[in-house]
Subunit: 176 residues, 2 copies
């Protein structure tokens, strides 16, 4: 088990890109900067891509005020009836406290509602509102367009290769 | 420009993985879950990989309490003398407020110090302490080992392909 300290800080340090960067855009390779070992790490290559994708996502979805975590939550809630908050956190790989913030925001936007869970009087399950379903249709189209634009430099075959290689990260080495 | 609201929320929602997930580990494809469109998005494939990498990184670096943002900051500060806080934020693609938190944590860990900037009496530049340099040597070895382990299912050629494909995300389409 890791000690609690770095994770607590990690929560605060897992930062969204700077809003001020939006106009210029994040430059992953500034010309006068020495990135040292970062340039050789798979992990940092993914971080660089993630920032660029996040920027384009937030810009593209600005009319709906939808961020990547909000979109993922809406899809998971829409596709999986009677989901509880702990399920949502586990599926998305986030802390329960983060899922609470997410659902609070989506509830305030009148996209999601908490409903009493039939089997457990203390619990509730998550559901999209009627407005949430309508919004998610439009939002999904915008996200598809964003994702296609982000990957537009890659051929369909290269996109499939990229997804396949990504899915093998963290896997055990191939059997000898 | 996107309105401020989603980015403010985005900062809070860009969440580190759940500490409680650490023992079991994040499962990017839970068997009974319907991921809908998420399964087809390049952006979500990257998010899944990022969570797994983050988990392994934090576990591997637990002896030093080093998170990915802390490591990136240490490397950039070590390799680029006389760096200011705004430079660090721009290079890492994070908000200035986030860079302040990062540097505060690294200063509390006695790895980084703020030094008066010669050219501007109101500013300061960032530098590693003597202890910070020693620590960064050991930490860099641990990060290299983590990164190699994360990518151990891929051949060297596949790793190069992955990095190349990632670097082309967000680029314009190829000229027809």
């Amino acid at each position: 088990m890791a000690p609690a300290t770095p994770r607590q800080h990690g929560n605060r340090e897992a930062l969204a890109p700077d809003p001020a960067l939006q106009d210029a855009g994040f430059d992953p390779h500034l010309p006068d900067v020495d990135y040292g070992v970062l340039d050789s790490l798979v992990g940092y290559a993914i971080r660089r891509a993630q920032i660029r994708i996040y920027e384009d996502f937030v810009t593209s979805l600005a009319p709906w005020q939808i961020t990547p975590p909000r979109f993922s939550a809406l899809i998971i809630i829409a596709r999986n009836p009677h989901l509880k908050l702990t399920d949502l956190a586990r599926i998305l790989g986030i802390a329960r406290s983060g899922a609470v913030l997410l659902v609070d925001a989506l509830e305030a936007m009148q996209l999601v509602e908490r409903r009493p869970a039939p089997a457990d009087r203390r619990a509730y399950s998550l559901a999209l509102t009627h407005g949430g379903r309508k919004t998610l249709e439009a939002v999904t189209e915008a996200v598809r367009a964003h994702d296609a634009r982000i990957a537009q430099a890659l051929s369909p075959e290269e996109q499939a290769t990229l997804k396949s290689l990504l899915s093998r990260l963290g896997m055990p080495p191939p059997a000898a």
